[in-house]
């Protein structure tokens, strides 16, 4: 490569950079493979993730109350053993605006047919936030109970937690 080609190379990079900037700026920092890696740019924001708790052996009265991570009374279902990507699962639960029948059925489908049998699983939201000057709170909120053929919403939560936008 000679000097004139090197100069031309930088021009090609410059034009590519312009395309990069336009695509990233107009798509909230992400247009694969271009990215400004915005994931960690806004620090300190509260977050919501999701886990599945096996509540088969718990009393009906105690399964719907929220509790801290340390007070967890039942085991967590490892979603990987059902070939479910935990981040997809978490986002599916935390970002769904309207829990239509098809969305709720998709939760059972996600784990594969006949996986629940006679067990009862609680799909729970986990909420993290900074509290005061020196601590972080992590709370588990029971959200949807799954059985092999039904999905039940938490009666303690307002309807707006399940239906927020246009359906």
């Amino acid at each position: 490569m000679n000097l004139s080609s090197a100069k031309r190379g930088l021009k090609v990079i410059g034009i590519s950079l312009l395309v990069y900037a336009i695509l990233v700026a107009s798509h909230e920092g992400e247009f694969w493979p271009f990215s400004i890696y915005p994931m960690f740019s806004q620090a300190g924001n509260p977050w919501t993730r999701a886990i599945v708790i096996d509540v088969t052996d718990l009393n009906e009265e105690e399964i719907w109350h929220s509790y801290s991570l340390e007070d967890r009374a039942a085991g967590v279902v490892p979603v990987r053993s059902y070939s479910v990507d935990q981040i997809d699962f978490s986002n599916f639960v935390s970002k769904t605006q309207n829990w239509t029948d098809s969305r709720r059925a998709a939760l059972i489908t996600m784990f594969g047919p006949n996986q629940l049998e006679d067990r009862q699983w609680m799909v729970s939201k986990v909420k993290g936030e900074m509290i005061g000057a020196d601590s972080v709170s992590i709370r588990i909120v029971p959200f949807i109970k799954l059985t092999s053929d039904s999905t039940l919403l938490n009666p303690n939560l307002p309807e707006s937690d399940y239906f927020r936008g246009e359906q």
Binding site: G9, L10, I13, W32, R49, V136
Partner: protein
């Protein structure tokens, strides 16, 4: 000499003659990219076919085309097949010079179809960026002597730009207090829930325990990582490049240890482009094999 000329000297080294070691290393690097392109295309395709149900988060071109069509009719698998055939043909320089650009677009579609479920992973970005650089290299510098130098130089440019722009994104998005240790506590908590959900159990490692014991320690960890991102652009200078690369690899090791986010392909690619491997190859290879000359 203007700053653009200085930068083009650092990235493309026009004064340095092409050597057999450089050519062989370039093809091995291209093989590395080809391997990951095919791997990702099929991993994403299989997941999309068998797991994706509804679009939760449309990314990139999924904002303009309904990628849910890739969830059915085996389209994601067919797309993986096309990517495989076209990328292999491009590696052997069979077909047309815009083929790599087609691979880039098809791989983008495969990514947005797979990751329409809410997750936005970044560990595959650098492989995508390499495909993009091969695409513009094949279009604008198809010459055997120019393409290797342009492709490697442009990848190095975008790596440096990516890290330094990430520093400024944090500065703008949060402010100068981005490195507040409690932010790391919150992220460790978030990632620990992901692992708990995936495995059914979670135990913090030594570095996480240290960070969680003191805000000062957590702040120092964040500050070191943030400053490393800031100096990412120094990878553009060939003499500093290996040292910057070492710092960036160290930063990724720190991210893996504190937040359990692995960047395997990303770090492997950093290792390949950040050090002058051609010098080692030139010790043992004195002439370019004929079959490799055909594929440049």
């Amino acid at each position: 000499m203007s700053w653009t000329e200085k930068l083009s000297y650092q990235l493309f080294e026009p004064d340095r003659k092409q050597t057999p070691g450089e050519v062989v290393f370039f093809k091995l690097f291209e093989l590395f990219v080809l391997f990951y392109v095919i791997k990702f295309a099929w991993e994403w395709g299989i997941y999309t076919q068998y797991r994706n149900v509804e679009i939760v988060l449309p990314l990139g071109m999924a904002n303009y085309i309904d990628v849910s069509i890739f969830f059915d009719y085996h389209l994601a698998l067919i797309n993986a097949g096309f990517i495989t055939i076209l990328s292999i043909a491009s590696f052997f320089r069979l077909g047309f010079k815009w083929q790599y650009m087609v691979v880039m677009v098809l791989l983008h579609i495969q990514y947005v179809a797979r990751f329409s479920q809410g997750e936005i992973p970044h560990s595959q970005n650098l492989i995508g960026m390499a495909v993009f650089c091969f695409a513009i290299g094949a279009l604008f510098f198809p010459d055997k002597k120019k393409m290797p130098r342009f492709v490697m130089g442009s990848i190095i440019f975008f790596i440096g730009l990516g890290y330094t722009s990430a520093f400024f994104a944090k500065l703008i998005g949060t402010g100068i207090n981005w490195y507040d240790g409690r932010h790391l506590w919150l992220w460790i908590g978030e990632k620990s829930i992901d692992i708990l959900s995936r495995e059914g159990f979670y135990d913090p490692n030594l570095l996480q325990e240290l960070a969680l014991k003191s805000t000062a320690m957590a702040s120092i960890i964040l500050l070191i990582g943030w400053m490393t991102e800031l100096i990412g652009f120094t990878i553009w200078w060939k003499k500093i490049r290996p040292y910057t690369t070492l710092l960036l690899i160290g930063m990724h090791f720190g991210i893996t240890m504190t937040m359990n986010i692995r960047f395997d392909a990303f770090v492997l690619q950093l290792i390949l482009v950040g050090f002058p491997w051609y010098l080692l190859f030139d010790q043992y290879i004195k002439t370019t094999p004929k079959f490799i000359k055909k594929w440049i």
